[in-house]
Amino acid sequence: MSVDLATVKRVAHLARIAVTDEEAARMEGELNTILGFVEHLSEVNVDGVEPMTSVTPMAMKKRADVVTDGSKAEDIVANAPESTDNFFVVPKVVE
């Protein structure tokens, strides 16, 4: 499988990365090189093989359903590019 220029632009938008026409054209070639490389996997017979979902055979650890953290609003917004009264500030999203 390979991607064309329109697909590159669509994927870039899905990934929320602005691309110029020039960048998209360059990426088209690079992505197709990588997709050509991963194409080797189609040679492998995977009939009846379970996909790996857990690296180590263990049940996922669960913690008690209790509050163990919180009341750190100032810490959480401390690195925000813009915040007011411990809220993140973003451009207006609802008219």
């Binding site: 929320r16 602005a18 996997l41 790996m52 180590t56 810490d75 590019p81 973003v90």
Partner: protein, 493 residues
Amino acid sequence: MTDLIRLTIAEARDEMKKGAFSSVELTDAYLAAIEAANPAINAYVKVTADKAREMAKASDARRAGGTAGALEGIPLGVKDLYATEGVHTQACSHVLDGFEPRYESTVTANLWADGAVMLGKLNMDEFAMGSSNETSYYGPVINPWRAEGSNANLVPGGSSGGSAAAVAALMCAGATATDTGGSIRQPAAFTGTVGIKPTYGRCSRWGIAAFASSLDQAGPIARDVRDAAILLGSMASVDDKDTTSVDLPVPDYEAALGGSVKGLKIGIPREYRVEGMPAEIEALWQQGIAWLRDAGAEIVDIELPHTKYALPAYYIVAPAEASSNLARYDGVRYGLRVPGKDIADMYEKTRAEGFGQEVKRRIMIGTYVLSAGYYDAYYLRAQKVRTLIKRDFELAFEAGVDAILTPATPSSAFAVGDEDLASDPVKMYLNDIFTVTVNMAGLPGIAVPAGLDPKGLPLGLQLIGRPFEEETLFKTAHVIEQAAGRFEPKRWW
């Protein structure tokens, strides 16, 4: 003071125990070494001199008070991927500009709890995506090693290039690193240092910027096998904050050193003899086999038939997980924000400016293979292939193999700005051909220096072990180290 930086962690620990010098003196010696070498090597992106002196002072006070931890007073460098409270943490990306977390990663917290001193944050490929340390926003790291009779700058490998270079150039006693496809073992091999990627689940991933969550593991880069064992013993823990952290006590890794490898079954996988592999790599491998055989190990040929599919499967699984993990860098909660006409435009501009080319490439691949209609063909198939790769190893271990010996890398360090590698991303990816299988299967792997190539550059061997049998790796790597000796670059900086 320059003599102090020549001591290994074990030596410095034992000397400080005797009162030969203080942590403040040792720390000052390292800070002077960093000041002298960093302009040439670019291993540190942030030196925390004041904090280091404070920590060293506190360490000396603890020692005077009779409470010394396993790493008491030992100055270390920390890869920029680890969150360090109130200190530069950017995964060497522009998108995390100015980020200083209000929390500490579990692994670094373990080190400080054991008495270690932080010298600063180490350069790396952006978000650990790279094999040459050239994708860093802070510029490439220069390998302290140069080819015989040449002044050309070589890469230290990646992504933990700053960690490996800092250890090799004596700019820290040891360093933390991380490994998703070979990012500890490949730079260790390129710099004549020792690096171990422990079993998935051995070190907590909490507070380490996520690249590919099912592959990422923390581990140390050190000057010798003993130091690597000491560091891993402090880094590893059982952590409730990481649901994949395994409930197993941390053994005394250092105690495994010096044990006999007599009767140990060492597997040699034929599939690692790849086309176009330089003769010196094959010769090094044969030398490693001979050393272990001489030490009493039993050498057996094994088959790992799905080896050649590990790298293609990796370049689906890792970008897929990365595209999801890196979605959080959106200009809202931390780091860079580039204004736009609306919120979507702000996201797109922030990420376009904040991420470098290699990171964008991988996010794009990941987004594509997870997008509607392609999931089964790419991601699901890759996860099935991953099961087969893991099964190859399981069959070898079931047949009684204790560890597997392979070359660590297909070549020695290459030049900074190599045009051939820069023009074809897949060629760069092939650097991880011997290391990536280990991440796919979640196994432990150690890279240990084993010799020099005809250009005088270090080469490493890799040992792969059964899950959570790092002790076998340390014991066996120590035998190789005893036979090969240690390798140090000539000081040109």
